[in-house]
């Protein structure tokens, strides 16, 4: 029954968007109720569909859209295990954040615009998740990017916010161009395969080209190097959207938007679209040839490299940031790196289990990162500043926020008890990724161990910075005279709900894994995506992530709570390493100043101007040719007398001559 209403999952928020956009100011509570109702509706429908299709059903609906040449494109819905878990997560988290935003944005005069834009964003994200062909995926992806731009620049009167929105859009655009190139390349290859009579490949009836199903069926026939390029281009799109190195710079700047925007878009949903893309097209990644490292498909190796490096790279920067949201932003980038690392390493080791690993971490990350952001928002709302150096000692005044944030920090650091399997969600998801990277290192040896190094070091740094954040904000003496109060109920209730999920979601892992692993089989895709053997790493490796997490907690405890070491004496602000990290590896300077200003302006534009002025103009200004042309035109100019009768006389002359010509040529009129 719910299956028939699958399209409403996307349409309800769209309708809410349109209505809130036009009627928002006149509605009660500034237009907040309509999107909340719409997203609640989407969540209920998703829940209904989940109960209908568990454990082995799929919803597939499509209508033809337009045809170009021989190919027919369609718009459609595909809800398989991968999609349904994402749908549930996105709609649920979006719902909670909307409810929170009612309290957070209550003083803002433009809140109807805010709710309209987040409603559109939710619709687009849901559309990304349940689209069944890559063209619709791309279109929804772009709409998501536009909404991100609108929402980051929500307070557009602030120049920093406008600049951050522009940067976000441009940087993700680079990724989008790569993604589009990948789609085009894929299309060309598919058309080549279809037209080649040697392959007995036909699009099944009721299927369309560019549907994921067709793509997967054609995988054995696509030329392998082409497949590598296509998947790498898709990954390029994911790099842009999910903020991997080198396109990561926009995410920390995107914190200029309201905190609820950061929670929704840059923690839980939009940035995970990149990971979702790789997970969706995972059979393609899996079947690329293994030329660089034996036993590891090429694209998966590249994915793992970028992911692992980003995980460590961002974690180093999170250590020194003083803005509460920046720390969380870098944490997000780092955790997205973990998700990509999962897809890469576990993909080589364990086949489809990689998808379930990565998506499990994605969902648990969504819960605890949204929780952390919303707590940060609660703190900012209460205290009025983002700078943690001005906070401190807030625990007594904001008990609910403090405890839920502590739970979120525990989840992020991956704290839990290994062998009896009790722990926070992050324990199950993140530590599993670290284990898989260990297995990858065992399988490949040599360079393969670097991924494990990345993962475990990043885990240590993660634990350090998140507890540093917690201790600096909530404990100790207040560092400045700032009034603070606990947030209203409409803001704390979502925090508590998310904290419950952050604690308990991990226990669903067996059912989750078993369900999502069947994803590609259920689609009817016959690819040899095999399961890996169940390997048990040595005990010390299993314990190590937890040890690292607790170690980070102790380090922060010592430094920031007990104040036994004063960091500013050990590492002064002039320390070059500190400066490197604090200035974010000079990435903004490189990006904006070097490439943007110096390269484009000084090199390209000025040389262009030089050529234009001196060389091209030198050819025409004040030379013989130009002067003679001027003189001739002075003479010919006199022809235009402006007297209409002269024109008439010439016309008559022309007619007469024409008649003469006719007479001569045709011998009579």
């Amino acid at each position: 029954m719910f299956k028939d209403y699958a399209a409403l999952i996307v349409l309800l928020p769209v309708i809410a968007f349109v209505l809130t956009l036009f009627l928002g100011k006149k509605l009660y509570s500034g237009g907040a109720l309509l999107p909340i109702a719409a997203i609640a509706g989407s969540f209920i429908i998703s829940l209904g569909i989940f109960f209908e299709i568990y454990p082995d059903g799929i919803v597939q609906q499509s209508i033809p859209w337009f045809s170009s040449g021989i190919s027919q494109m369609n718009m459609g819905i595909l809800i398989d295990p991968l999609a349904i878990v994402m749908l549930l997560m996105v709609s649920f988290v979006s719902l909670l954040i909307h409810i929170y935003a009612v309290g957070y944005m209550s003083h803002d005069p433009a809140k109807s615009r805010y709710f309209a834009e987040t409603s559109l964003f939710t619709a687009a994200m849901l559309s990304v998740i349940l689209s069944d062909n890559i063209l619709q995926f791309f279109i929804s992806w772009e709409i998501v990017g536009v909404c991100s731009f609108l929402l980051i620049g929500f307070w557009y009167h602030k120049p920093s916010a406008a600049a951050a929105a522009k940067k976000a859009f441009l940087v993700t655009r680079i990724g989008d161009v790569l993604f589009l190139a990948g789609i085009v390349m894929l299309y060309v290859n598919l058309v080549k395969i279809i037209n080649d009579p040697a392959n007995a490949f036909e699009i099944g009836s009721g299927n369309f080209i560019l549907q994921f199903k067709t793509m997967f069926e054609a995988i054995p026939l696509i030329d392998k190097t082409q497949l590598t390029y296509i998947t790498l281009l898709f990954f390029g799109g994911a790099v842009g959207k999910s903020g991997q190195f080198p396109l990561h710079g926009w995410l920390p700047d995107a914190m200029e938007g309201p905190t609820t925007v950061s929670a929704l878009i840059h923690a839980a949903t939009m940035v995970t679209a990149g990971v979702y893309l790789v997970a969706r097209t995972f059979p393609m990644f899996f079947n690329t040839p293994a030329t660089i490292m034996t036993g590891v498909p090429d694209s998966l190796l590249i994915v793992a490299i970028f992911g692992g490096f980003t995980a460590l790279f961002a974690a180093t920067m999170g250590l020194v940031m003083n803005d509460i949201k920046r720390v969380l932003a870098y944490s997000t980038v780092s955790q997205l790196g973990y998700m990509m690392l999962a897809l890469g390493t576990a993909g080589a080791v364990a086949g489809t289990q990689a998808v379930s690993c990565s998506i499990f971490h994605l969902i648990s990350h969504a819960f605890f990162k949204a929780l952390l952001f919303l707590c940060a928002g609660s703190v900012i709302h209460a205290v009025g500043t983002n700078d943690i150096r001005e906070m401190g000692g807030l625990f007594n005044k904001m008990k609910i926020t403090a405890t839920t944030m502590f739970i979120g920090a525990l989840a992020l650091a991956g704290i839990g008890i290994p062998f009896i399997d009790i722990g926070t969600a992050g324990f199950f998801s993140k530590d599993l990724i670290i284990e898989k990277s260990f297995e990858f290192g065992e399988k490949t040896g040599g360079w393969g161990w670097i991924f494990y190094g990345f993962a475990i070091l990043a885990a240590l740094l993660t634990s350090i910075y998140i507890f540093r954040l917690w201790f600096m904000v909530f404990t100790g003496k207040p560092r400045s005279e700032r009034h603070s109060h606990e947030s209203p109920g409409v803001m704390t209730v979502p925090l508590m709900i998310l904290a419950v999920f952050a604690l308990l979601f991990g226990f669903l892992h067996t059912g989750f894994f078993g369900y999502v692993e069947t994803n590609f089989e259920l689609m009817g895709v016959e690819i040899a995506v095999h399961e890996g053997e169940v390997v048990h790493p040595p005990i010390i490796i299993v314990l190590l992530p937890v040890i690292v997490g607790v170690l980070g907690f102790l380090v922060s405890y010592v430094i920031y709570y007990k104040r036994m070491l004063d960091m500013s004496k050990i590492i002064s602000s002039e320390n070059p390493l500190y400066k490197l990290l604090y200035n974010r590896y000079y990435e903004p300077k490189i990006g904006a100043d070097l490439i943007g200003v110096k390269l484009t302006h000084d090199v390209v534009a000025q040389s262009g101007e030089f050529i234009d002025r001196k060389i091209i103009d030198g050819l025409v200004i004040d030379t013989i040719i130009s002067n003679t042309i001027f003189k001739i035109s002075e003479i010919i100019r006199k022809l235009q007398t402006g007297v209409v009768q002269n024109y008439a006389s010439i016309t008559i002359l022309g007619v007469a001559l024409l008649l003469v010509l006719l007479k001569l040529k045709l011998g009579g009129i």
């Binding site: 235009q640 402006g642 007297v643 009768q645 002269n646």
Partner: protein, 99 residues
């Protein structure tokens, strides 16, 4: 010689009209010459109508007369407006199209 003479007259009147248009300065004279042109065409039409024993030519001459009247009316209205603007009808000075 009947038809031939009618055609000849028509051509002569046409040429006089053309000469008048491209030579005269005054706007009213130009409009009169335009009427000459139209009348020569009408004459031509009627001559051929009589020669071919078909009333169509005369019907069209009728239409042509009506149209000539309309066009002359507009022409005079424009001249009146122009006179109001420039206080002259001497079309030699109305040459804003020049270089």
């Amino acid at each position: 010689m009947g038809l031939y003479s009618y055609l000849l007259i028509s051509i002569i009147i046409f040429t006089i009209g053309v000469y008048g248009i491209i030579t005269q300065r005054s706007g009213i004279k130009i409009l009169m010459c335009i009427e000459l042109l139209l009348n020569s065409a009408n004459l031509n039409l009627v001559a051929f109508s009589s020669y071919n024993d078909d009333a169509t030519g005369q019907v069209f001459a009728l239409f042509s007369i009506a149209i000539a009247a309309a066009e002359a009316a507009i022409g005079f209205a424009i001249l009146v407006a122009l006179f109001r603007l420039r206080d002259t009808i001497n079309l030699d000075n109305i040459n804003i199209l020049r270089w």
